[in-house]
């Protein structure tokens, strides 16, 4: 094998230096590939820099591990997928060269043992893995390991990466009247024209520079023609551009979503743009199609557009003895390009008679040119060395070092199809074509089937004018609509943007598709899909086996399922299956186009993780006191206050018990800011609450609180809280921490359904709150309260008052969740910390300590109070949770009334039951959701359980059938414990302590 002489890098560059419009030969860069050092230039892509140094093998193919090199140079095949630094699966043609870049191939290049599979292809037909590898039972588990190793392309680093240390991607937003995707001739023409007509336009171009594949001309700055020069570096926005035009290069539109919402990936800046457009003009060009023949995957065989791009953009000459297989003008223009470099190509044309304009273009150059050519095979070992072809019945061999194919194009219409436009196969012109456009979407240039520059320019300008007109009239319509009265039905803006597809007849010969670029060979290896190593015989087998619709062919053979998603394989696949099934290709159809149109990294899509935390204003105090915090929905709450860091599980239990005992014996304080609060105002406030909750509230007295139980329309317990009446027309409702949003939404909904005089306000964020509970609570607070008489007579249990605590305006609620004398104090949010400080300071005399959520859960359990979502689930009815007492039987209406009745009539089988266990089990407690068994069947489950330091036994709640006397609880280990059923509450059954 010839060794590459690294001291002469860039030996494939054009020596005359006329070409390479994108590279800066004065700025040399060095980089590595497979450990070897190479040189390139600023402006190169990794692929072009490697090609310039004569590197022809970039990877090994998926199934047969054949050597692969540059083919489409357009991310339309996976031959050029490489690993760059730590990132796997990158297209080398999309990687901008930079100093010090280090790239590796993703398979073994020089010698690959799996290459032996090439000789076993007979045993590996399409879907071969379905026929075998599953006997004896379980064999697939072993074989799968082998397949996984072989199939995966890129390698992801297993090294642990901290989530917060990930390189950050940003999201940016844009709003434009018009977005033009693609900065080639068509896109630039349309964008500049629209902008000159006053439309706010964004032009998005994937490459670092504008100009696209500019096949036809060297763009020269020409203000009258509104074209731009390819020689202008991307960083400089050319002068003379209309002010209404914004240009974004190095940005690729990967998705077009509902209502013209575009995802544009700007990998270099690590940014995902989300852009709303009123209209879109898609000018994304076309994919060149390959020919299918034996060994068409040899390095050195490539599409003519790839060769052209290499030469024009990067000054790379792909070969000194090229053969061009072409059925259209593009191949002939490539021939002229070679001639301009002093190289004489061989031109092979499958068309039976010479095509006059094409033939004329090369007539005077005396090069070998043949018609009626059928390819037989490409030959070479690891690289192309010659082409065998049949001309007029006899075989010829053409030695070569490069084979360029130009047999037609398919529109790169992925974005348009995502947007609902339709593609179809035009049997007359043997090409895929856009058949319809959705509202607001337009297509110009090669994607619309136009290739002649004059036609492209004309159509692009006309389209821009149409769009500008429609947008202008929409602008006036919108202003008029705004000026009209509100509350009128919003009709769709009448002016549907018309779209103009060029007629099929317009599509010119320049891009002519050869109808049959498929040459099967008895020895096979004519690759239809290079990504998946699919040969013609694979498609044949598939059809023969009965998988004969395009979808079934795709799934059975994996045609088009590789990384390039059928860009180079779908059309030829369609043609072959059409021939095999004798079915019209237009009827066969193609598989659905799905986003993304370009690879999007997970990091790009994720962006910064925006999941805000809600903190109480006392949060600082909790962390200063060493609290262990826990997540409660969107909030953080203190779970308990450990004296030291990292207590053991046993220590945690005693901390929680200590806090609970403090509440029972002296006084404690808990931050309850997270609970929801909703103010209901109006004449019909009580009537409104009455309809929404299960109990009765119309006769609730001012200054009193009542328990609130909310069920959904199906009668299932949804939320609970207390209803406080501060005035005849003012009720204040509390909700659970996690339920405030849902409750508020429900209230708003039902308010909108009924004609009641009521206003609803979500005050959750307006208030901070604490609950001061314990026998000394009154004593402690008396000194800090103004305007409220805290005596038992003046402020009884379940009363509510307004006044001041520690100088803060406050609502005081005497409610009994934990079962002791207690006051819940709600103050304005901003005053929360001041309140906390004042109470903690004042409370020192009574050794008041803060207690956390864990202690609160224990205290309420001792009183048999339920926690929504823990002691109830997504199906619990009030009567099952022993909340039947909170369901009014007299009210004519409340949400859930009738379904509750219906289900109670049918019979409630399970009830929430209180149980106790002796203290000796406290070190091996059953856990919440351990099952309750009865005679070998599941009877229910434990919902809450804890050791009670006050009662010195274990207490808990469980669902079980009514008739039980004891509960048979099954622990994780499988062991059973028999618990005694007792009536609720466990502690202070008369409720005397909370009523003092």
């Amino acid at each position: 094998m010839k060794r590459i002489d690294h001291s002469v890098d860039n030996n494939q560059r054009d020596k005359s230096k006329k070409w390479g419009l994108w590279i800066d030969r004065k700025r040399e860069l060095s980089f590595r590939f497979q450990g070897r050092r190479y040189k390139g230039f600023e402006g190169d892509s990794l692929a072009s820099a490697l090609a310039a140094s004569g590197v022809s093998v970039f990877s090994r193919s998926f199934k047969y591990r054949r050597k692969r090199g540059i083919f489409s140079l357009n991310a339309a095949d996976t031959n050029t997928l490489v690993r760059v630094d730590a990132m796997p699966n990158l297209f080398a043609e999309r990687v901008s060269l930079r100093e010090g870049l280090s790239a590796q191939a993703q398979q073994l290049l020089r010698f690959n043992p799996l290459f032996v599979l090439n000789f076993l292809s007979r045993f590996l037909p399409a879907g071969f893995y379905y026929r075998s590898f599953f006997r004896p039972r379980g064999a697939w588990m072993l074989w799968e390991r082998v397949f996984r190793r072989v199939a995966g392309i890129g390698v992801l680093s297993q090294r642990k990466v901290a989530h917060h240390a990930l390189p950050r991607y940003d999201k940016a937003y844009g709003f434009f009247e018009l977005v033009v995707v693609g900065g080639g001739l068509a896109g630039m023409t349309a964008a500049t024209k629209a902008a000159r007509l006053g439309v706010r336009t964004l032009l998005v171009e994937r490459e670092q520079r504008l100009g696209g594949d500019g096949f036809e001309e060297e763009f020269a700055p020409s203000p009258s023609q509104n074209t731009l020069s390819q020689k202008i570096p991307a960083q400089k926005i050319p002068a003379g551009l209309p002010a209404a035009l914004t240009v974004m290069t190095g940005a690729q539109a990967s998705g077009l979503f509902a209502d013209r919402f575009l995802a544009v990936v700007e990998e270099k800046k690590r940014r995902l743009h989300k852009i709303r457009a009123q209209a879109c003009i898609v000018a994304t060009g076309a994919f060149e199609l390959p020919a299918v023949f034996r060994n068409n995957d040899l390095p050195g065989v490539m599409l003519a557009s790839a060769a052209r791009r290499l030469k024009r953009r990067y000054g790379v000459v792909v070969g000194r003895k090229p053969v061009i297989f072409t059925a259209n003008a593009f191949g002939y223009r490539l021939a002229l390009d070679f001639l301009a470099l002093g190289i004489k190509p061989v031109v092979l044309d499958p068309r039976p008679v010479p095509h006059i304009p094409d033939a004329l273009s090369i007539r005077d150059h005396h090069i070998v040119c043949a018609n009626g050519v059928a390819l037989i095979e490409a030959v070479g070992k690891g690289r192309i060395e010659g082409v065998k072809a049949k001309i007029a019945g006899s075989e010829h061999v053409f030695p070569c070092d490069s084979l360029c194919i130009a047999v037609g194009f398919a529109p790169a219409a992925e974005l348009l199809v995502q947007g609902g436009c339709e593609l179809g196969y035009d049997a007359t012109h043997h090409c895929q074509r856009l058949q319809s456009l959705s509202e607001g979407l337009h297509a110009v240039g090669a994607v619309a089937g136009l290739f002649d520059p004059a036609k492209v320019r004309h159509h692009a300008e006309k389209t821009a004018e149409t769009v500008a007109r429609a947008l202008k009239s929409r602008r006036t319509q919108k202003t008029e609509a705004r000026n009209k009265a509100r509350n009128k039905p919003q009709n769709k803006l009448q002016n549907k943007l018309q779209n103009t597809l060029p007629a099929a007849a317009l599509c010119d010969d320049g891009a002519q598709n050869w109808h049959d670029p498929v040459f099967s060979h008895p020895r096979g290896k004519e690759f239809v899909d290079l990504d998946e190593d699919l040969q013609i015989s694979d498609l044949h087998d598939s059809v023969r086996d009965g998988y004969d619709s395009m979808q079934l062919v795709k799934r059975y053979t994996t045609l088009g399922m590789g990384v390039s998603q059928g860009r180079h394989s779908n059309i030829n696949g369609l043609r072959i299956v059409s021939r095999l099934t004798e079915e019209d290709p237009a009827r066969l159809g193609l598989s659905t186009v799905r986003p993304p149109a370009a690879p999007e990294s997970f990091g790009m899509l994720a962006g910064r993780s925006f999941q805000p935390l809600r903190l109480s204003p006392m949060h600082r105090r909790h962390t200063q006191a060493g609290a262990k915090t826990m997540v409660a929905g969107a909030w953080l709450r203190p779970a308990y206050y450990p004296p030291s860091q990292q207590p053991s599980a046993k220590e945690v239990r005693s901390i929680v018990e200590r806090e609970a005992l403090a509440v029972r014996n002296s006084v404690g304080m808990i931050d309850v800011t997270t609970l929801g609060g909703i103010d209901v105002y109006g004449e019909d406030a009580a009537e409104f609450v009455d309809r929404l909750y299960c109990w009765s509230y119309k006769k609730q007295l001012v200054g009193r609180a009542r328990y609130l139980l909310m069920t959904d329309e199906a009668g299932v317990v949804a939320d609970d809280g207390v209803c406080c009446r501060f005035a005849p027309d003012h009720l204040y409702l509390t909700t659970t921490t996690g339920g405030s949003d849902a409750v508020y939404r429900a209230l708003l909904f039902w308010r909108s359904q009924w004609n009641l005089k009521v206003e609803v306000s979500n005050s959750t964020a307006a208030f901070a709150g604490v609950n001061v509970a314990g026998p000394f609570a009154r004593e402690m607070l008396e000194g800090l309260c103004e305007g409220v008489d805290l005596s038992r007579e003046a402020f009884p249990y379940m009363g509510v008052r307004e006044g001041r605590v520690a100088g803060c305006r406050a609502r005081l609620l005497r409610v009994g969740f934990v079962g002791e004398l207690g006051y819940e104090i709600h103050v304005p949010f901003a005053e929360g910390e001041a309140l906390w400080d004042a109470l903690m300071q004042h409370g020192k005399r009574w050794q008041m300590i803060p207690f956390g959520v864990e202690a609160q859960r224990l205290l309420r359990l001792e009183k048999g109070h339920i926690i929504i979502g823990q002691d109830t689930d997504g199906l619990t009815l009030p009567h099952e949770a022993e909340m039947g007492w909170a369901v009014s039987r007299k009210k004519p209406f409340f949400i859930g009334k009738r379904p509750i009745e219906i289900q109670v009539e049918r019979g409630i089988t399970k009830r929430l039951t209180g149980f106790t266990l002796p203290a000796r089990h406290r070190d091996d407690l059953p856990k919440e959701c351990n099952l309750v068994m009865h005679e070998g069947a599941i009877d229910g489950r434990v919902t809450s359980i804890a050791y009670s330091p006050t009662l010195r036994k274990i207490v808990g709640l469980a669902y079980a059938s009514r008739s039980r006397k004891t509960l048979d609880i099954q622990l994780d280990s499988g062991r059973s414990l028999q618990a005694t059923i007792v009536p609720l509450p466990f502690y202070d059954p008369e409720g005397a302590r909370q009523k003092i």
Partner: protein, 412 residues
């Protein structure tokens, strides 16, 4: 094993079509199955195999297996919350384990282990509940803590620096993935071999009912008479039912999914997070298959959205930050028939001899074998088997919902 390939290459293997070529419409069948997805084909197979009913045709408006069967993310498990659900899926798991041999096709059934991560106390409680019910029914399921998680899935990010750190998980060792297409093709071929007709590109436009009893169907190609008809058209169930005048407890919403480019083996188990509403597995090809919760609104359209993948990736990277550089290859959607109790609807309908298999939401693929077998039994005997009784359509009228919603979260 590869003996089959050797035979094939030497021309000794069978060369018959796996499915019938298009043929003229026959006038009548004993049983018509509307919908050639996994369920419909499995049922036809079992009708022929278990009950010797072979005058069966399976109809599909498109290509076989092209509905939700082609779009799901192929997770198979039996770790459900209710006894009815667990017993049902347990049988399915058993059938899956032998399916490749039974159908003579590699379904690529791979027991990877299934982890349902818990990020909150509530989720841990639910995990324990499920583990208890599963164990009681002989299904392997256990609650694992962070230390065991480290061993079961070393790539998982257990850091406490994320918004919702992982507290533990429900580990279901028999959890598996399979190749959905192979399952459908296997049933199709096996049914065809037993004499069942499969009519692709034949759309059912109406059902013919006389005196409360089904007598045939109208199709885009003509009318076919039948004694019994089964509808198994996930994503379109209500449309047929509405035509026949009875309602289903179904809201059809899109369920989106996506796949990455292929990478070398990285992730062995199937990882689901109920709190984050995401799930991920890595296929035999090395592609990461991912999805999340259903879309919020009723929609009979499989469009993809940007919000779906943004939200998904945000959470995937919290679980596997190493995937930041992986690339998304393709996103798609299926139509999920969601029911109020997250359980299917199987068995009889108000119309005599018209049977239904619907309401498969996000839990359909894993039920393919058991549903095929038991629905065949139901149709052949005109009696609902005990295993299917809890899933009868009539349960809603009786307010007897199955308890799966007891712990609602992402069910995959």
């Amino acid at each position: 094993m590869p003996l089959a390939l050797l035979k094939y290459a030497l021309g000794l293997g069978e060369r018959r079509r796996h499915f019938p070529a298009p043929q003229p419409l026959k006038k009548r069948y004993d049983v018509l199955v509307i919908g050639a997805g996994g369920h419909g084909l499995a049922c036809a197979y079992h009708l022929a195999k278990d009950h010797a009913i072979t005058k069966v045709a399976v109809l599909d408006k498109g290509y076989l297996g092209g509905g939700n069967t082609a779009r799901n993310t192929t997770i198979v498990r039996a770790n459900y919350l209710t006894e009815e659900g667990t017993a049902f899926y347990k049988e399915s798991l058993k059938l899956f384990e032998n399916l490749s041999s039974e159908l003579d096709i590699n379904t690529m059934y791979s027991k990877r282990g299934h982890l349902t991560l818990a990020h909150t106390d509530a989720a841990l409680r639910t995990a324990r509940w499920r583990a208890g019910v599963n164990k009681h029914l002989g299904v392997r399921s256990e609650v694992v803590g962070r230390a065991e998680l480290r061993k079961l899935c070393p790539q998982l990010n257990l850091s406490c620096e994320v918004r919702f750190p992982v507290l533990g998980a429900l580990y279901h060792a028999p959890g598996a993935i399979a190749r959905h297409d192979a399952v459908a093709w296997g049933y199709a071929r096996a049914a065809y071999r037993r004499g069942v007709d499969i009519l692709q590109n034949t759309e059912v436009t109406g059902v013919v009912v006389e005196k409360g009893r089904v007598v045939g169907v109208k199709t885009s190609r003509g009318t076919i008479a039948a004694d019994k008809v089964l509808q198994a058209v996930a994503g379109h169930s209500s449309l047929l039912a509405n035509k026949l005048g009875f309602r289903l407890p179904i809201r059809t919403v899109p369920l989106q999914a996506c796949v990455s480019q292929p990478y070398q083996p990285f992730l062995d188990p199937i990882v689901v997070s109920g709190s984050l509403h995401v799930y991920i597995s890595q296929s035999a090809r090395g592609e990461f298959v991912m999805g999340g919760a259903t879309d919020p609104c009723e929609l009979y359209n499989t469009r993809s959205t940007l919000e779906f993948k943004e939200q998904l990736m945000m959470h995937i990277l919290e679980l596997f930050p190493q995937l930041a550089g992986a690339n998304l290859l393709r996103q798609w959607a299926g139509l999920a028939d969601m029911t109020p109790d997250f359980s299917p609807v199987m068995g009889k309908t108000p119309i005599r001899n018209y049977y239904i298999d619907a309401g498969w939401g996000t839990w359909g693929f894993k039920a393919t074998p058991v549903c095929g077998k038991r629905m065949a039994e139901c149709i052949a005997t005109d009696t609902t088997p005990a295993l299917l009784k809890p899933f009868a359509l009539s349960r809603f009228e009786n307010f007897a919902l199955v308890g799966e919603k007891g712990a609602a979260s992402v069910g995959h």
